[in-house]
Symmetry: C2
Subunit: 288 residues, 2 copies
């Protein structure tokens, strides 16, 4: 299968590595918004060749994987659309789905039936093709979106591809995906960025950070993620994230009042509810 | 050295394991608010014997380590004070220092000069003596507080003990410790508890949590920590934590406005500041 990967950073590079490691791609051509990043992916052996434009990468490809930041999807889709083969399947790995589906629908015309929105819920705070890992998707969940007019065989092919890479596939519509991920992914990223940025702005930041223990390191690991990628996600899903943020601010204000009042039972109850839920996750009791 | 460990959960149990593993304690007697926890620590071989009261554990001990939740320190100190030997050193492992020093000062009288407040910045989401790890303190930072009247030889003995367990020791006054830790430890714990509790209260919590990826797992790992311990920490340091919370709420409200306005440059700048700072931590550039 001739494959084009548009966006050759951590996730695009890992898709390339996963496909190649499992002999699922005969030839992989890459494109990146930053040609230097694409050149590094070629040098690392993740790609067979670097293309100068999305259209050039998509030319003669059977499968096109969009792995650019979601804010860049409309431009990349518009560029590749005229070069799209009549049976090529297009998919993506973006962290938001409603905006990516809308961009694909707008750019691809009737070929939108061969577009399968996908989101592998994997990641790493490493960035760039140097962090690419052929096993990044082993055991991860991939959400696949059916836009209604999506061809059944295109959906099945993308699902099988992800399953071949070791992932568990879940079908969901784009709006539900975006609402759910706002809670369990986008909001946590925003909170981690906000906390580290707030500390960094303090005069004694260095001294404070020198006292950070393993809990702080775990909590803020995702704040090392790509700022550009997450800026795009935050803006693309801003309504759902905004709603989650407002709910979270209300929770924090309630905690502030409990602290001021010395309300030990209320705090313990809140902490216990969280602790019970999080420990069940450790025991794998939230899998569906 | 005859040692008493009051509070034989994860941290107290790990202190016992660390001292025993390094042949730093000839005999370790334990006490826990929950006698069943203490019995488990004896059964696990962490302790030589279980005492029924703090006073009984402290009797004839050269070193007494307080590892109960900080809210229980006043009662435990009051109980053990009359049994304290004339040269015994008392220390603690609490996550807050001003309240613990005040409790020790109030309970110990002139023996307060032999009390050394300490805080090993280590931890784990595991709870109970079953999670005890003799190497938990390897490479961790331990803050030691000098209350002014603290005997120099007591300070040095406790510092050497922690260094023998592989820790890096930093001296700091209690107020500075509590202010710093509010930022890099107490606030993150409160945020992690708040987020998981908020999700747990939603009707589709199970489905959302089934979509949680590795980023969410890292971010919320500390929400599995002991609710009782953290309730006490939150209340003991509520002024500093309250101030951090208010600052954080203001940051979140600013982010909300940026999202609503679609202010991409501002969001990217915030995320970049956080990401740069967090990546420097990964490279070890915040060590002092």
């Amino acid at each position: 299968m001739r494959t084009a990967i548009l966006g050759t950073g951590l996730i695009g590079g890992s898709v390339a590595a996963a496909l190649r490691g499992r002999h699922l791609a005969s030839r992989i051509v890459g494109y990146d918004l930053d040609p230097e990043v694409c050149a590094r992916a070629v040098a690392l052996g993740l790609l067979d060749a670097a293309a100068a434009t999305p259209a050039q990468a998509a030319f003669e490809a059977d499968l096109i994987v969009l792995a650019v930041p979601v804010g860049s999807m409309p431009d990349v889709l518009a560029d590749l659309a005229p070069a799209l083969g009549s049976s090529a399947i297009v998919t993506d790995v973006g962290s938001t789905k409603a905006d990516v589906l809308a961009a694909a629908r707008g750019a691809l015309g009737t070929a939108f039936a061969r577009f399968v929105g996908a989101h592998p819920i994997a990641g790493s705070e490493r960035a760039g093709p140097e962090g690419a890992d052929p096993d990044l998707f082993e055991g991860c969940t991939v959400v696949i979106t059916d836009a209604g007019e999506t061809h059944a065989d295109a959906l099945v092919r993308i699902e099988r591809l992800w399953q071949s890479c070791g992932a568990r596939v879940v079908r969901m519509d784009a709006a539900e995906h975006d609402r759910m991920l706002a809670t369990v992914s986008h909001l946590p990223h925003v909170l981690a960025y906000a906390l580290v940025a707030q500390i960094a702005a303090q005069p004694d930041a260095q001294r404070k950070l020198s006292l950070a223990g393993p809990g702080f390191r775990d909590f803020t690991r995702i704040a090392a993620s790509s700022p550009r990628m997450w800026r795009d996600v935050a803006l693309a899903n801003r309504d759902a994230i905004g709603a989650e943020l407002r709910g979270f601010v209300a929770t924090l204000q309630r905690i502030e009042r409990a602290l001021a009042a010395g309300d030990a039972p209320w705090l313990q109850q809140l902490f216990e509810r969280a602790s019970d839920t999080r420990r069940r996750m450790n025991r794998g009791e939230n899998e569906q």
